[in-house]
């Protein structure tokens, strides 16, 4: 229904502005209906303006800026309708160290509401996990799981028996 969509759209929009500004430490962003007259059919445009830069179309953003902007949108929707769990597959790959830290700090605020499963190769991301699993292929082509104890320096794959049922 129209009222429902409008309410959700406005809530996500408010959240997106706030979260973008927090993740980019400045700047501003917005989501607008392409065709204002026709709320139930209209497409949605995203406008982003990193700190100190001119307002522009999101296609001109860099790889890392786009990823951070998409993360802001995800969290904005999450605040309106948190899904019980969320899977993030190497979402940290395009981020530089500074943006990775900002993403991590933001993610921590959401762990009370939702459960996150993060696939990553980045040691800094692994550090924030409550539990860590390693997928191994000791036998070619055959996936197996081992639980990993993260020592502050290196994840030590605990070759112990994977959790037996």
């Amino acid at each position: 229904s129209r009222a429902n969509f409008e309410k959700t759209f406005n809530q996500v929009r408010e959240n997106f502005k706030k979260i973008f500004n927090e993740l980019f430490e400045g700047g501003s962003a917005d989501i607008v209906l392409v065709d204002n007259e026709n709320m139930l059919e209209s497409g949605i445009d995203i406008i982003a303006q990193p700190p100190g830069k001119k307002l522009q179309h999101i296609a001109l953003l860099s790889g890392g800026e786009k990823a951070l902007c998409a993360i802001a949108l995800l969290f904005a929707v999450f605040l309106v309708k948190p899904s019980p769990f969320c899977i993030l597959d190497e979402i940290d790959a395009p981020l530089d160290d500074a943006n990775l830290e900002r993403f991590k700090n933001m993610l921590k605020k959401f762990t009370a509401r939702s459960q996150f499963i993060m696939i990553t190769h980045n040691k800094k991301t692994m550090e924030m996990a409550d539990i860590l699993y390693g997928i191994t292929m000791e036998e070619f082509g055959v996936s197996n799981i081992v639980s990993v104890k993260l020592k502050k320096s290196e994840p030590a794959i605990d070759q112990g028996k994977p959790e037996e049922e």
Partner: protein, 165 residues
């Protein structure tokens, strides 16, 4: 509601029965290239109702059944179960714990179960309807697809808002 565990058997590279237990908070999954991390995400999408092989990076649905290695024969069946804690009755079903299972035989036959009782795919997708979970949900951020929400056409972006409404 939280995602307690996933059990894979014969799904892609998981030829052995493997169980992964999740905790509330953040679970990190690590491992070398090609070891099977994204296959776990495909397994979740499959049980949540993925209908096309392409959504699971295959060309035919049989591509999800373990097709053998140099030392192991192909299997004839793939089976994945997702178990959720439902103590807060988020899923409209009267169980404390809900296990959803999907099976595919090489013959092409499919089977679906909710807490070991046979059901239809429609029953599963309807059960998850209002939770924000689903195959194309914003809560599954696939590998290299972070740009997807930003690059898609304005009309395509509506789906995220409708899902949350």
């Amino acid at each position: 509601m939280f995602f307690k565990r996933i059990e894979l058997f014969g799904f892609k590279s998981f030829v052995n029965r493997v169980t992964i237990k999740f905790q509330p908070g953040i679970t990190a999954v690590i491992g070398p290239n090609g070891c099977g991390k994204t296959n776990i995400v495909d397994a979740v999408k499959w049980v949540l109702g993925a209908q096309s092989a392409k959504q699971l990076r295959g060309s035919r649905m049989e591509d999800i059944i373990f097709n053998g290695t140099s030392d192991r024969k192909a299997l004839g069946l793939a089976e994945v179960s997702l178990t959720f804690d439902n103590s807060q009755q988020m899923l409209p079903i009267d169980f404390q714990e809900v296990t959803v299972t999907r099976r595919l035989f090489r013959s092409g036959e499919s089977e679906y179960f909710i807490n070991k009782a046979a059901c239809r795919l429609k029953d599963i997708t309807e059960m998850f309807m209002d939770t924000g979970l689903g195959v194309d949900a914003y809560s599954l951020m696939e590998q290299n697809k972070i740009d997807f929400i930003l690059n898609s056409k304005p009309e395509e972006r509506r789906a995220i808002f409708e899902e949350a409404a």
